[in-house]
């Protein structure tokens, strides 16, 4: 599902965020990405969602080599990935319904389908009935869950989350993590970047630790998964 082979990322300002990251996440897995601030967690997620392209090495997501994907195919590529941000990036001047519906609207779903799926997604995060409220009328935890509903509304096979519990108290954080586990149980592959080490250890799920731009405790190159052909 996600495959990194000796990936390096150097930003335009010269900072090298990743130097040689190799990792592999198989379909149906739920994995935590941990490490101190600045270890490169956000960069890994940005490379997966194709918000950035690798400077060196290969990033393969959903069978696509992101370094070589033509620009015109980026929108379709992104539609197959749900992204949750720490700052949730909701549109504060739009009702909850519009925010959650956005991925469906850009994918050209019919209006009936949109209504049905948005309510289903809000139901999953426990916010059914708040469609017409604006994000500013919700609590921080509820806003974060709206962000998650938006990420899962189009039922992408892959969900990535950057510090989804960073602004939440332990109870709310636990609820969000449980929500991810339930999604994982129905087959969604999930990668969560977090420093909530407590929950990671308790969950017993795989943990990938980033340290100084590489994956701690593993340097080996991994076998290449099958790729989609591009003209």
């Amino acid at each position: 599902m996600i495959y990194f082979d000796r990936v390096a990322k150097r930003y335009a300002n010269g900072r090298e965020a990743l130097s040689a990251v190799s990792l592999r996440i198989t379909p149906g897995e739920m994995v935590f990405l941990t490490g101190r601030s600045g270890a490169g967690k956000s960069t890994v997620l940005k490379l997966i969602a194709l918000l950035e392209r690798p400077t060196r090495g290969q990033v393969i997501v959903n069978g696509e080599n992101t370094g070589k994907l033509p620009n015109r195919k980026i929108p379709a590529f992104r539609r197959r990935i749900g992204v949750v941000f720490q700052d949730h990036r909701l549109l504060m001047d739009r009702p909850v319904f519009d925010n959650v519906a956005l991925p469906l609207l850009v994918a050209d779903a019919s209006l009936r389908e949109v209504g049905k799926r948005v309510r289903a997604a809000l139901d999953q995060v426990g916010l059914l009935g708040k469609e017409q409220l604006r994000p500013s009328e919700l609590s921080v935890g509820e806003q974060q869950r709206v962000g998650i509903a938006r990420a899962i509304v189009s039922r992408p096979p892959l969900l990535i989350a950057d510090e989804p519990t960073g602004n939440l108290d332990p109870v709310l954080a636990g609820e969000v993590m449980n929500l991810f586990r339930r999604l994982n149980e129905v087959g969604v592959t999930i990668l969560v970047a977090t420093h909530d080490v407590h929950f990671v250890r308790e969950s017993g799920l795989r943990e990938i630790v980033l340290e100084g731009g590489v994956v701690a405790g593993s340097e080996e190159s991994l076998p290449l998964p099958p790729l989609q052909a591009h003209r």
Binding site: R78, R89, L91, P103, V106, S110
Partner: protein
């Protein structure tokens, strides 16, 4: 197939309606922009009407253009009749009045009081004259000149004289005005593109977070651009309507004084407003210019807005 078309239409209808809603929610800014563009469009539109009205006013003067054809003195009255018939058959000729040498002499004798002196001359000193009035089409400077040459080439013709040459000069001035009008329309059109472009640019900057999130969840450039194109086209359309309104009001205000002026000259001339076809052209051109301005700016700016940048 029907479903895909329906969804395509739905998408565009949604973009159009939400763009209209956005304009309605910022009435002050919208009105200011629309006023700037509407007045800009009203100027060439008004100039066009001015030229057209002057032209139709001078069209009424086409009766003032006449050609007097003096025949050689030895041309007989019968021959003169025949030449008059030939001239009538020519296109662009509305009326030919023959004043035969005999008739001219008779008239002169009666009106001048020199009857006795004429008797003394023995022969008739006056030539036959054809007074030719061109049709409205035939009164254009080039047509009149063509007719003049045609007549001058007849062997029986002594000389040809044009009356009302000032009308031809006035037509030439109108032609210059028409060129000025085209130039003005081009310049003001470019102005409309620039104003819409700048308005859309501000709108894009205001909606940057929305654009980023839309791209993040897989919105294509075309999808992100669409509402801005509709906004631009709507600006253009509303501005063109405003321009039309401004012109209609100006016409109302001028109608009475112009009618009074025309009456003072014994004319029934009335100011003409834009035709339905012209209104259609202005609305279409306004919409297109708005769309163009939005397209230029949106294509340039949207490519640079990527969600990863922040």
């Amino acid at each position: 197939m029907i479903g895909a078309l329906g969804r395509w239409l739905g998408r565009h209808a949604h973009a159009a309606v939400s763009s209209a809603g956005r304009l309605a929610r910022q009435p002050f800014g919208t009105i200011l922009s629309v006023l700037v563009m509407g007045l800009t469009m009203a100027l060439p539109l008004g100039l066009n009407l001015l030229v057209q009205n002057l032209r139709s006013a001078t069209g009424n003067f086409s009766g003032a253009i006449g050609i007097s054809v003096y025949l050689h003195q030895d041309v007989t009255d019968d021959k003169a009749e025949q030449l008059a018939a030939n001239a009538r058959a020519r296109s662009g000729v509305a009326r030919v009045q023959l004043i035969s040498a005999t008739a001219a002499l008779e008239q002169f004798r009666k009106e001048s009081g020199f009857g006795a002196a004429l008797e003394a001359l023995g022969s008739n000193p006056l030539p036959s004259v054809l007074n030719i009035t061109p049709t409205a089409d035939g009164a254009a400077p080039a047509a009149v000149e063509g007719l003049r040459r045609y007549l001058a080439a007849w062997p029986e013709v002594e000389s040809v004289q044009l009356d009302g040459e000032w009308v031809a000069r006035f037509s030439a001035i109108l032609e210059v005005l028409r060129r000025v009008l085209l130039l003005a329309a081009a310049l003001f059109g470019a102005g409309v593109v620039a104003v819409v472009g700048n308005t859309i640019r501000l709108e894009i900057l205001n909606r940057r977070p929305e654009i980023e999130v839309t791209k993040l969840v897989g919105g294509s450039n075309a999808l992100v651009r669409r509402p801005f194109l509709y906004t631009g086209a709507l600006y253009g359309l509303i501005s063109a309507l405003t321009a039309w309104l401004v012109i209609a009001i100006a016409l109302q205000l001028l109608q009475l004084p112009v009618a009074q002026l025309a009456q003072a000259y014994g004319s029934h001339f009335r100011l003409a407003g834009p035709s339905l076809r012209e209104v259609g052209i202005v609305l279409g051109a306004g919409t297109f210019l708005g769309w163009l301005g939005a397209w230029l700016v949106a294509s340039y700016h949207l490519a640079g807005i990527e969600p990863g940048a922040s």
